[in-house]
């Protein structure tokens, strides 16, 4: 990380550190409040008999408090204390959670921008907001976790591990494609809703009662929605997205099948591949028999 990048990430790191410290303080103070109610760790000890009697109720709480205290003591060590095993953990945790924080901040930014637009009287359209958020989430996945899943695997179980990773990877890609496809399908609905609301506003401005007859309101809405759907369903964007979704589904189902075959190979159950091969043989045999049957019949005539 160069100096500039370091400076850029400073506010986020500082925020994260202060959050961790605040959490630690909160849990510490909570732990010190518990004793009167639950016989916590810093409470004045009663008699040995009383202690023994309350052991079953007290122990889990005590253990929980101690774990939290130990964890936050570790976290509270200075981050710069290199090579010290206890200081390595918080830094590792910080780094590991960095992508999550970055993504969260990015989403936060988008929400803030959306809210700014709302306050400025220009509400963000659902289609834009949802698409942006989906993109951010899946981009974050691809940039961080996706790369980990694509790391080369080693050793005897390499093939199987890669298959598991690929299954997760393809499943996520399918979810992304499906989410984007569904978002696309929802656009005409949102547009129809907005058009109808606009129409009602216009009618009201003219001093007329806006769609007092619910049937008229509904028919207007459904007609607008139908028109919007016709435009969308004929568009290249829709066919492209449909193709992408089907491709993602295909890729996921193929790798999932391979993964399941790995699992099934140790069980006395035929795999899809076995069954398909069997059915193909059966098909070819039947076809051959039918041809021969026809030949025999034509000879008999």
């Amino acid at each position: 990380m160069n100096k500039e990048e370091k400076e850029k990430s400073m506010p986020q790191d500082a925020l994260l550190e202060s959050w961790i410290k605040a959490s630690k303080d909160l849990w510490k103070s909570t732990a010190s409040i518990w004793p009167p109610a639950f016989g916590g760790i810093s409470a004045a000890s009663g008699s040995a008999e009383e202690e023994g009697a309350d052991m079953s109720a007290e122990d889990p709480v005590k253990m929980f408090s101690e774990i939290w205290q130990a964890l936050f003591n570790l976290i509270n060590k200075p981050l710069t204390d290199d090579f010290h095993p206890t200081s390595f953990l918080p830094e590792w945790m910080l780094k590991a959670s960095q992508p999550l924080w970055s993504g969260y901040f990015l989403l936060q930014k988008q929400w803030m921008a959306g809210e700014e637009k709302v306050s400025a009287g220009e509400p963000e359209r659902f289609e834009n907001l949802a698409q942006k958020m989906t993109k951010t989430c899946f981009d974050m996945y691809e940039k961080e976790f996706g790369q980990i899943l694509n790391m080369p695997q080693l050793g005897l179980t390499r093939v199987y591990q890669e298959r598991v990773n690929q299954t997760i990877e393809k499943f996520t890609q399918f979810q992304r494609a499906l989410t984007e496809f569904i978002q696309l399908l929802l656009i005409p609905m949102e547009k129809a809703y907005n058009t109808v609301q606009e129409e009602i506003k216009n009618v009201e401005k003219k001093g007329k009662e806006a769609f007092r007859d619910s049937k008229t309101y509904y028919q207007f809405w459904i007609k607008i929605m139908e028109e919007n759907y016709m435009v969308l369903l004929k568009s290249d964007e829709y066919t492209e997205k449909l193709g992408e979704t089907m491709k993602a589904l295909h890729d996921y189902k193929i790798i999932r099948m391979q993964f399941l075959m790995d699992v099934l190979q140790d069980l006395p159950i035929p795999t899809n591949k076995d069954m398909d091969e069997l059915y193909k043989d059966l098909y070819l045999l039947k076809k051959r028999v039918k041809e021969l049957e026809k030949k025999v019949k034509s000879h008999e005539r």
């Binding site: 399908l185 005409p188 609301q197 009602i200 009201e204 806006a210 769609f211 007092r212 007859d213 619910s214 049937k215 309101y217 509904y218 809405w221 459904i222 929605m225 139908e226 759907y229 016709m230 369903l233 004929k234 066919t239 492209e240 449909l242 193709g243 089907m246 491709k247 589904l249 295909h250 189902k253 193929i254 069954m275 398909d276 059915y279 193909k280 059966l282 098909y283 070819l284 076809k287 039918k290």
Partner: protein, 396 residues
């Protein structure tokens, strides 16, 4: 005088309400007493016994091969056709649509006119059917069925009628086996796929059938149905059920609605290889109308169709629009050929009351005029049914 209990629901709602609230308010005209009556009637209708079975006309299964069955419908009166008459339905959805309910049944219309006929039931393909190709269906099952009927009646030719994809199969069959067909009727039959008039064409060209087949094997009927619903989501997924809600207190409406739902969502899977071939050779390459299609290693030449042909399609068909049907007549070698475009849609052509008066009678007239000399039509009792013994089936 207005009842005090009658609160106008519209008054309680501002203009910025969700459509759902307003629909409910509108159902009873914003009147609580009416709303109560409506809900009571709806409850009575939904809880009362209904006759929602479809395809109730009795038939006999006279031939079976694997999953495919041949149904035979015989009128109570004497049969009027000299040549046997075979109907081939699509593999998408089921042939039960031709016999949806009494009064809205093509089967009933034909039987009342004294026509006996055969109808192919493609059945429900299972995993073992995934390798079946167009050749297996057209030169296999269809040809075996035609041979069976011709042999049973001891006659060289029969009348063939195809519906939707079954019509496309019938066109291919007639071009490959012209010597076995007396007259051909195609109804809502796609033959030209190079058009953007239907969304299905646009989507089918964008899809990769190889991937779909790898993903699913046989293409699930539910996936096909989802595709059909997406052709018009506003009407087919929302408006249709709003209309149901509006009429849920009407017994006849609910009964008819449920029957139609039963048919629509009774969708067999499509055999994988047949689907792959159909999408690739028809939707993507449009080989049939260009006389470039090959089935079972034989070229399908539409010019070889020289028999009388009646081609019926719907003006408002959104699945197989006129642009997919109206070039066919110009490409065949027949002299006696006719295009008939009816003011209806894909399903309406078979089930709407208005079209019932036009569609069935037209086919009957057209066939009777071209039935000609049956040349010794007689049923040979000696012909044995292949595979399994025939059985009587009263209803599905």
């Amino acid at each position: 005088m207005k009842d005090e209990k009658q609160v106008n629901l519209n008054d309680m709602m501002g203009p910025f309400k969700m459509a759902g609230d307003l629909i409910f308010a509108g159902l009873a005209g914003g009147d609580t007493a009416k709303l109560y009556n409506y809900l009571r009637d709806a409850r009575n209708v939904l809880l009362s016994p209904m006759k929602t079975e479809i395809a109730t006309t009795p038939y006999e299964v006279v031939y079976e091969e694997d999953r495919v069955k041949l149904k035979y419908y015989k009128p109570d009166t004497e049969t009027r056709l000299k040549h046997p008459f075979l109907i081939v339905y699509a593999q998408v959805n089921r042939e039960t649509m031709l016999d949806l309910q009494p009064g809205r049944s093509v089967v009933e219309t034909f039987l009342r006119a004294g026509l006996d006929f055969y109808m192919i039931d493609w059945g429900y393909p299972t995993r073992k059917d995934r390798y079946l190709t167009l050749d297996d269906h057209i030169n296999g099952y269809m040809d075996n069925i035609v041979d069976f009927i011709l042999s049973k009646h001891n006659i060289p030719k029969l009348h063939l009628m195809g519906i939707c994809q079954g019509g496309t199969f019938s066109v291919v069959y007639t071009a490959l086996h012209p010597e076995k067909i007396k007259n051909l009727i195609t109804t809502v039959t796609p033959t030209n796929f190079d058009t953007d008039a239907s969304l299905l064409n646009i989507w089918a060209r964008a899809l990769n059938p190889d991937e779909l087949v790898e993903t699913y094997g046989n293409i699930p009927g539910d996936i096909m149905n989802l595709g059909f619903l997406l052709l018009n989501p506003a009407r087919l997924m929302i408006d249709k059920y709003v209309s149901f809600l509006e009429n849920v207190n009407n017994f006849d409406f609910v009964e008819n609605f449920v029957r139609m739902e039963r048919w629509i969502f009774d969708s067999p899977d499509l055999p994988a290889e047949t689907f792959r071939e159909f999408i690739t050779n028809f939707y993507k390459k449009n080989l049939l109308i260009k006389n470039e299609l090959e089935v079972g290693g034989k070229k399908v030449d539409l010019k070889k169709i020289t028999i009388p042909v009646l081609n019926i399609y719907g003006k408002y068909d959104h699945l197989v629009p006129p642009a997919m049907c109206d070039q066919f007549i110009g490409k065949i070698g027949s002299r006696d050929k006719e295009d008939l475009c009816l003011d209806t849609g894909h399903i309406g052509i078979y089930v709407s009351s208005k079209t019932q008066r036009e569609f069935g009678p037209k086919i009957i007239r057209w066939l009777m005029e071209r039935d000609g000399n049956g040349r010794d039509r007689k049923t040979s009792e000696k012909v044995t049914v292949k595979k399994r013994a025939p059985k009587k089936v009263k209803q599905k």
